[in-house]
């Protein structure tokens, strides 16, 4: 009797187990919802949009909306092509009070307060210096670096956001050397605006990625969005991955985004406002925060601050999730970042974890 039962059981188990094993992976893969992914060019970079669980028609509308929002940011805030910003800069240089919209006022005020929090390491008033280095051009400059005398002259003028008086409708400058360049926050600000627009359309699960900066909401089906952070010393490859929570922006500033080599030295576009030269103590900095404009500005400030000073800048700016790759190739992280980062290279790099921020 016992034996018969066992045989029956065995006979039943074999096909059942086989069927289960086969069905399992397919069952998971055949979720009715899908990711919709597309790419386009704007803000001088490639933007990719990922949407989860949205039908194709709505997805196409959503992507169009993102494109319109980012194109509008480009039209308003472009640092050298004719834009609202170049109009403002021309007025400021001429010593005039310039009329601005309320939206523009908010953006400029946020840039001013971020500059102050970063102890002016994020300094969007040094547009003239960035232009002097040749980075106010769609094409990468060839060098040589600008003459030291020209750099010294601009440093002596001490252009700072603190020179600006900004109210709801006008902006004034007491320093004619100020030229605003929002290159280090515009992406963060634009991507956040795009995410807001998607939310208003009722989209709950999305990533908008504009190269060095992205913002994610919701999830990829029943798992979190998973993003890769590019390895900064090579042209391709992933150094680490991280699973994102709902409503998080990830911004990276790096010396590999825009640069030229001249006589064996690399000159990149992130200018240290203290020296007037491209920053040299870090290769890249990545910041995760809900506020993309803050994360973007903080990534720039932290990259300029380098291994000696980065924790102080991060604390002052109120960012607790930071990863910086030093010029010494060590990876500097806050404990909050170290907890969630997963290295994708082997051997894993040497990590220096800071005090909790």
């Amino acid at each position: 009797m016992h034996n018969v039962c066992l045989t029956l059981l065995r006979r039943a188990i074999a096909p059942l187990a086989a069927a289960l094993l086969i069905a399992l992976p397919y069952g998971c893969a055949r979720a009715p919802e899908q990711v919709y992914k597309t790419q386009f060019f704007t803000l001088g970079t490639v933007v990719d949009v990922s949407l989860w669980g949205v039908d194709n028609q709505r997805a196409a509308d959503a992507v169009k909306t993102v494109e319109n929002v980012l194109n509008e940011v480009h039209r308003r805030w472009h640092a050298w092509e004719p834009s609202e910003l170049t109009r403002i800069n021309a007025g400021l240089a001429a010593g005039q009070a310039v009329t601005i919209s309320e939206d523009e006022s908010q953006v400029l005020q946020q840039a001013k307060s971020l500059a102050e929090q970063s102890e002016e390491l994020f300094n969007p008033a040094i547009g003239k210096l960035i232009g002097l280095w040749g980075f106010h051009s769609s094409d990468v400059p060839k060098g040589p670096p600008p003459p030291q005398a020209d750099i010294d002259r601009l440093l002596a003028a001490q252009a700072s956001m603190a020179d600006l008086t900004i109210d709801a409708t006008t902006i004034r400058s007491r320093n004619p050397a100020v030229e605003i360049d929002l290159g280090a926050v515009a992406k963060g600000y634009g991507v956040d605006l795009a995410i807001d627009a998607l939310r208003k359309m009722g989209i709950r699960n999305a990533i908008v990625n504009a190269g060095g900066g992205l913002h994610a909401i919701g999830k990829h089906g029943n798992r979190p969005w998973r993003i890769g952070i590019r390895e900064p010393t090579h042209a391709s490859g992933i150094i680490a991955s991280v699973n994102l929570r709902d409503d998080e922006a990830v911004h990276t500033s790096g010396n590999y985004e825009r640069f030229y080599d001249y006589q064996g030295r690399r000159y990149h576009h992130i200018i240290d406002p203290r020296s007037g030269y491209p920053s040299s103590t870090a290769i890249s900095a990545t910041v995760i925060h809900r506020d993309g404009a803050l994360a973007d500005a903080a990534a720039t400030a932290i990259m300029i601050a380098g291994p000696q000073k980065w924790t102080e800048v991060a604390r002052r700016m109120g960012v607790s999730q930071v990863m910086m790759i030093g010029a010494d190739k060590k990876v500097y992280m806050t404990p909050a970042m170290a907890q969630r980062i997963h290295f994708e290279i082997s051997p894993a790099p040497e990590v220096v974890t800071s005090e909790p921020l």
């Binding site: 188990i13 992976p25 060095g212």
Partner: protein, 119 residues
């Protein structure tokens, strides 16, 4: 062992590499390249056939080569040549672009391990 046991065993052994391939391998070789040009037009070209492609952009023509399951920029009318220096791309999610000429190439297919890449 009875016949059913063998069947289970064989199923398990057959399934093992499938599961491994599905869940463990990352950056598997890609099957195709997605090329996006300045007008936003998307072209998907398989990596299985060796060929040269000429993509027009605002600065001129970017030349893309597909060879032996990989893809690269051979030349592009930009000054930085970052796209050309990126070299051969062959794994799912590998990506490079000539921003001045507004041409991007992304390897698709294979196991796309990431939803998005921050760089």
């Amino acid at each position: 062992m009875r016949r059913a046991d063998y069947i289970v065993l064989i199923f398990a052994l057959v399934l093992l590499p499938v599961l491994y391939g599905t869940y463990w391998t990352r950056s598997a070789p890609g099957q195709a390249v997605r090329i996006i040009d300045a007008t936003g037009e998307e072209t998907i070209v398989p990596l299985t056939q060796d060929r040269h492609l000429e993509i027009k952009g605002p600065l001129g023509v970017s030349v893309i080569e597909i060879h032996d399951g990989a893809v690269r920029f051979v030349s592009s009318p930009c000054s930085g040549k970052l796209c050309v220096h990126a070299g051969w791309l062959r794994n799912g999610n590998d990506f490079t672009a000539c921003l001045p000429n507004r041409v991007s190439i992304a390897v698709v297919g294979g196991t796309e391990g990431y939803d998005s890449i921050n760089f």
